[in-house]
């Protein structure tokens, strides 16, 4: 699966300077800065988020072209002048609130910052890097569990579909639906666990030890630490100013 493949090392580039920790700091830093930013300050955070996204993972900017995002954002922009504050401006036969308009705009700016930072984080690190990140947080064996899960997922989905169709064709869901759903789950879980025993045998026969890490643990680079410090300073400045 492509998601498992680590991105090629891009030494000398902006993207290559950061490890998974860097992207985690970037996400947390942007989220915190967006939350503590007051009113127009959020524009600076949004600009910083857009620039960093463009430099580190420009694909993340495609988020701004998704209709689902705008279906979420536009109603907020449209409703805030009608619902927040005192309506003091008369426009196109309707009374709007200036305070509400600005409040809606800052809310939307803040939401865009967080959504963009999340998109950069999830698009920049692979599943194996994420597993290493968790292993570094003392969740030993999670990388192995993730590998097994991605391998068994298609089989489980297929079994689920087949069992569901078999039960439906036998009229299982016509009456006593909850009981049928329980039977479906029992069949699915029991079948999957039987298959799991084969995986356990295979892993044990190869002397697999979950305590041994699958690869070198990720450690923060200088650029990661500099980014963390930058995010911290920005958040502190927003909080104090």
């Amino acid at each position: 699966m492509a998601a498992w493949r680590d991105s090629h090392p891009l030494s000398g580039t902006f993207r290559g300077a950061f490890s998974a920790y860097g992207y985690l700091f970037l996400f947390l830093g942007t989220a915190v800065a967006a939350i503590v930013a007051r009113e127009a300050e959020v524009i600076f955070v949004l600009l910083a988020a857009i620039i960093l996204a463009g430099l580190s993972r420009s694909q993340a900017l495609r988020l701004l072209a998704r209709w689902q995002l705008w279906a979420f954002v536009l109603p907020t922009l449209a409703l805030s002048p009608l619902l927040i504050g005192e309506r003091d401006v008369h426009l196109w036969g309707l009374w709007f609130s200036q305070e509400g308009f600005w409040a809606g705009l800052w809310m939307v700016g803040r939401a865009l910052c967080i959504a963009l930072a999340a998109a950069v984080f999830t698009r920049s690190i692979s599943v194996s890097q994420m597993a290493q990140l968790f292993e570094g947080l003392r969740l030993k064996g999670l990388g192995f569990a993730l590998g097994v899960a991605t391998n068994v997922l298609p089989t489980i989905q297929e079994t689920m579909e087949t069992s569901y169709q078999a039960m439906r064709l036998r009229g299982g869901f016509r009456t006593r639906r909850l009981r049928t759903l329980k039977l479906l789950l029992v069949a699915l879980i029991a079948g999957s666990l039987r298959r799991g025993d084969d995986i356990v045998s295979a892993a044990e026969s190869r002397a697999f030890d979950p305590d041994r890490s699958p690869g070198p643990l990720i450690s923060p680079t200088r650029a990661d630490l500099a980014l963390a410090a930058g995010c911290g300073i920005l958040a502190a400045a927003l909080l104090l100013l």
């Binding site: 998601a3 899960a149 489980i156 979950p210």
Partner: protein
């Protein structure tokens, strides 16, 4: 947290089952129900089934942290799925698994009431999920929008705004009952599956 190979494989399997439920059933439900029903109905159904799967998993991996690990596996599978990354479901899955851990930790020994408590806590999260996510994303101003919408909607329909509060309480109670039922069913299902595997 140290798990044996068998426990890790079981964690992976239960994570994959929960992930499969989220991916297949989630897609169907999102198509069937309108977007506004997402939190109220789709989220409730997915959270209830997810709680059942994760708690049955706890039967087979009776150790602290197992349900949280199952939740992490599910969240990562959801993240790399075709639908793309959505922060809402990821936060919901992780929060539900953490709350289930909390419920099981409070109950200490694995017993039915512990499973029921874990189920209640996990599914009850579904009620607060949207509010918390909206607060994180939009800030406290969004509550002003909601309250104003309720007041204006109530006056438009010529009903008392207090009825909105009653509806909110009912929605919350539905989640409590669904969560309790999930825990209750998970306790039974775990035993049934164990019995079937022993055959």
């Amino acid at each position: 947290m140290k798990f044996s190979v068998r426990e890790l494989v079981y964690i992976a399997i239960f994570g994959a089952i929960w992930g499969a439920v989220e991916l297949t059933m989630g897609s169907y439900l999102h198509v069937i129900f309108p977007p506004l029903a997402e939190t109220f109905l789709v989220g409730l159904i997915l959270a209830s089934i997810g709680a059942v799967v994760a708690l049955v998993g706890r039967h087979f991996v009776p150790r602290t942290g197992a349900v949280f690990m199952i939740g992490i596996v599910t969240a990562v599978l959801k993240m790399i799925s075709i639908g793309g990354v959505k922060a809402g479901p990821l936060v919901a899955i992780l929060a539900e698994s953490l709350l289930m851990e909390l419920g099981l930790f409070i109950a200490r020994k694995p017993r039915r009431r512990g499973f029921v408590l874990a189920g209640v806590l996990a599914v009850a999260w579904n009620f607060f999920h949207k509010l918390i996510m909206m607060y994180i994303l939009f800030g406290k101003g969004v509550y002003e929008v909601y309250v104003s919408m309720i007041q204006q909607g109530a006056s438009l329909l010529r009903i008392d705004a207090a009825y909105a509060l009653v509806i909110i309480v009912i929605l919350f109670l539905i989640r409590i009952v669904a969560g309790g039922l999930s825990g209750w069913i998970a306790w039974d299902l775990g035993r049934v599956v164990r019995g079937r595997l022993a055959r």
